[in-house]
């Protein structure tokens, strides 16, 4: 698969599309294909997140949009203009780099003014002051980047890109170097600024929580292709692949035999128990599949107890591990077929806690389950690095 350059790339088509559009974009570095035949539409004014593990091609995609890499094939259009081969300094796109890449020999004011001065825009000083105001760094204008804290440098990098009012602002893991608390604060800050200025943001990250909190649309990337794209809640609730199911949050995946597809439900035999899954949430071809259920959707109760999911009780579980984490209690329950399922129970105070070794019964509402293709690796995306 080293020679993918001949992939037929569909035309960018509709030149009236005013957002960012990638069509059939492939990027190979020698024998390694970083991005494979990628199609992507980023609507104007949206906050778009490219989410994936390191090495999945998300940064390469971003760099191709910025013009720092040239696609091996395919096309990139921005507001109808083909920018596939345009020089980086000729595209209305700005980047917030991962390590900020602030110019160490220039002060904060000069750093932020850099783009405007290159384009010979009038009234640079006023606009720089406005921008410093927006990122709350008015008092730091004459300092050098090295004199600022990480969070402040991050805001300078953001201001330096934003001041140019680009068609698309690219953010390459912009919060990666910050500690957790600051990162949460900056996420809210970034979202506020995006809403305020109304620009298109394309945000690359490997932090699923970050992507879900900030973005309107999340594209989950893996091995150079987009696995699934959609609103955060849609991706989380109805994952189409095992990778998405595991990379975004956690999932229990249980093998099952598909017994019938009738109307709007798919009936699956899960180790002798019939479970039904809405057809809209079934993404399995063939006669077997992975039944997926999020741990917080699983109810746990005493054997024979009437749980809030009529007709769906799965008996025979034994608690093998209990971790109390404050807001919830996380159980591992060994099922009769030997698999351990994860169960998160909110500590509402209405339910009692179970101890290791207790016999329990599990249950979930059919509308929360999903069905994935058996050919996929059940552990794909489960081991996140950070």
């Amino acid at each position: 698969m080293s020679q993918v350059a001949e992939t037929a790339s569909p035309p960018a088509g509709d030149t009236t599309y005013d957002g960012l559009r990638l069509r059939g974009v492939t990027k190979s570095f020698g024998a390694f294909t970083a991005v494979r035949d990628l199609d992507l539409d980023v609507p104007r004014g949206s906050f778009f997140a490219l989410l994936g593990p390191s090495g999945c091609g998300k940064t390469t995609t971003l760099r191709m949009v910025a013009g720092l890499e040239t696609p091996t094939s395919g096309s990139i259009t921005l507001a109808g203009d083909d920018i596939t081969y345009a020089k980086p300094y000729r595209r209305p796109v700005n980047t917030v780099f991962q390590n900020y890449a602030l110019f160490p020999h220039l002060d904060i004011h000069e750093n932020i003014a850099f783009g405007l001065k290159r384009r010979k825009v009038a009234d640079v000083d006023t606009r720089v002051r406005e921008m410093l105001d927006l990122v709350e760094l008015e008092t730091q204008a004459r300092k050098r980047p090295a004199q600022l804290s990480g969070g402040q440098q991050q805001r300078v990098a953001l201001a330096r890109a934003l001041i140019n009012e680009p068609e698309v602002l690219l953010l390459d893991e912009p919060l990666g170097a910050l500690d957790l608390k600051l990162r949460r604060a900056m996420q809210i800050e970034l979202k506020r600024i995006q809403t305020e200025v109304g620009l298109t943001f394309v945000h690359v990250t490997h932090d699923q929580e970050e992507a879900m909190t900030m973005a309107d649309t999340v594209a989950v990337m893996n091995r150079g292709v987009i696995e699934q794209m959609g609103a955060p809640e849609e991706l989380y609730e109805n994952p189409h692949t095992t990778f998405v199911a595991n990379f975004l949050g956690q999932s229990n995946l249980v093998e099952g035999a598909i017994k019938g597809r009738g109307g709007d439900v798919v009936t699956v035999d899960m180790h002798g128990i019939d479970v039904s899954i809405p057809a809209a949430r079934s993404h399995a071809a063939g006669d077997r599949g992975w039944i997926g259920i999020r741990p917080e959707k699983v109810l746990i109760g005493d054997p024979g107890e009437d749980l809030d999911a009529p007709g769906n009780s799965i008996p025979g579980g034994v608690v093998t591990d209990v971790s109390f984490v404050g807001v919830s209690t996380q159980y591992l329950v060994r099922m009769p077929w030997g698999q351990e399922l994860q169960v998160f129970q909110q500590n509402t105070g209405h339910r009692r806690l179970y101890r290791t070794g207790e016999a329990v019964e599990l249950s979930w509402r059919p509308e929360y389950a999903f069905l994935l293709d058996i050919s996929q690796d059940a552990s794909a995306g489960a081991e996140q690095e950070d």
Binding site: A66, G67, L68, K87, P88, Y89, R90, V93, N94, T95, F97, N99, A101, L102, F103, P104, H105, F114, G115, R118, R119, K143, R144, A146, Q147, R160, A161, N164
Partner: protein
């Protein structure tokens, strides 16, 4: 018993204890004295008024050597020649060497690693070998009669070049190209990127290389002597004069050179401290 008593005495003797506690300081001062004595002698001798032919004895204080700077016959000519050669060699080798360093760090080309190695060789080769082979080259190329200013200059550019490449290259290698990408992303064309970002960041390396080149060129005796023909540079003048007794003005030149170096070093240090303080 005696040793024990001596130790007890040592422990109580405040003088010995002081020496023990300040041993590092004392050694440091001794090393500094050892290093600076020759320079001190040069400065002192620049004020010497020799009463006899023995110019190496301090006979009396005078400002004559400073006021009558060019009084020593031929010295100012030689000095001026050395300064001219130094400046030209510095300019040429700094420009060429900087360009070469950029090529070696920023571009992939065939024989890059070979070139990197070859660049080192003139630094490693003994000067006497370089000098004599250059002489052989000049003579066989038919320049035997024209040895002088230009052959010296060519030789100096050659050996300064390696030092410039090595100095600038290390500066460049330590600089990631992310900053240049950021400049390009912020609408700077390649020319603007170079002058506004790359050059200012590499400049300290280039300046260091230029200073090094000048002092190497100004200082060189062996290669110069072999390729000088009838031209006399300052080191050659001093060498020649030393047979009869070095004129006192040579010490003035030495003192001035030392003063300039101190100014540069102190200036750089102050500049660095100012920057560090700004960072605090």
């Amino acid at each position: 018993m005696g040793a024990l008593r001596a130790e007890a005495r040592n422990r109580s003797d405040p003088g010995m204890r002081w020496v023990r506690e300040h041993l590092v300081l004392i050694l440091g001062i001794l090393v500094l004295i050892y290093t600076f004595i020759p320079i001190f002698v040069v400065v002192l001798m620049s004020f010497n008024d020799p009463a006899s032919r023995n110019v190496y004895r301090f006979d009396g204080f005078t400002l004559d050597n400073w006021t009558n700077f060019c009084g020593a016959e031929g010295m100012c000519d030689a000095l001026w020649k050395s300064i001219q050669i130094g400046i030209l060699a510095t300019l040429a080798s700094t420009i060429l060497g900087t360009l070469a360093a950029f090529a070696l760090v920023r571009w992939e080309f065939t024989f890059r690693s070979t070139t990197n190695l070859l660049i080192f060789l003139p630094m490693a080769a003994p000067e006497i070998v370089l000098g004599s082979s250059l002489l052989a080259l000049f003579v066989s190329a038919g320049f035997a009669g024209q040895l002088g200013f230009w052959t010296i200059l060519i030789a100096h550019i050659m050996f300064c070049l390696s030092f410039v490449v090595v100095t600038v290259r290390s500066r460049l290698a330590g600089m990631s190209d992310t900053l240049e990408q950021a400049a390009a992303d912020l609408y700077a064309n390649p020319r603007q990127t170079f002058w506004r970002v790359t050059f200012p960041l590499v400049f300290p390396g280039i300046l260091g290389a230029a200073l090094l080149s000048f002092s190497l060129s100004f200082d060189d005796f062996i290669i110069t002597n072999l390729n000088a023909g009838t031209t006399t540079t300052f080191p050659m003048y001093v060498w020649g004069a030393a047979q009869r007794g070095v004129p006192m003005q040579v010490n003035v030149v030495g003192t001035l050179m030392f003063a300039v170096s101190v100014l540069i070093v102190v200036g750089a240090e102050l500049n660095h401290r100012r920057r560090v303080r700004a960072l605090a």
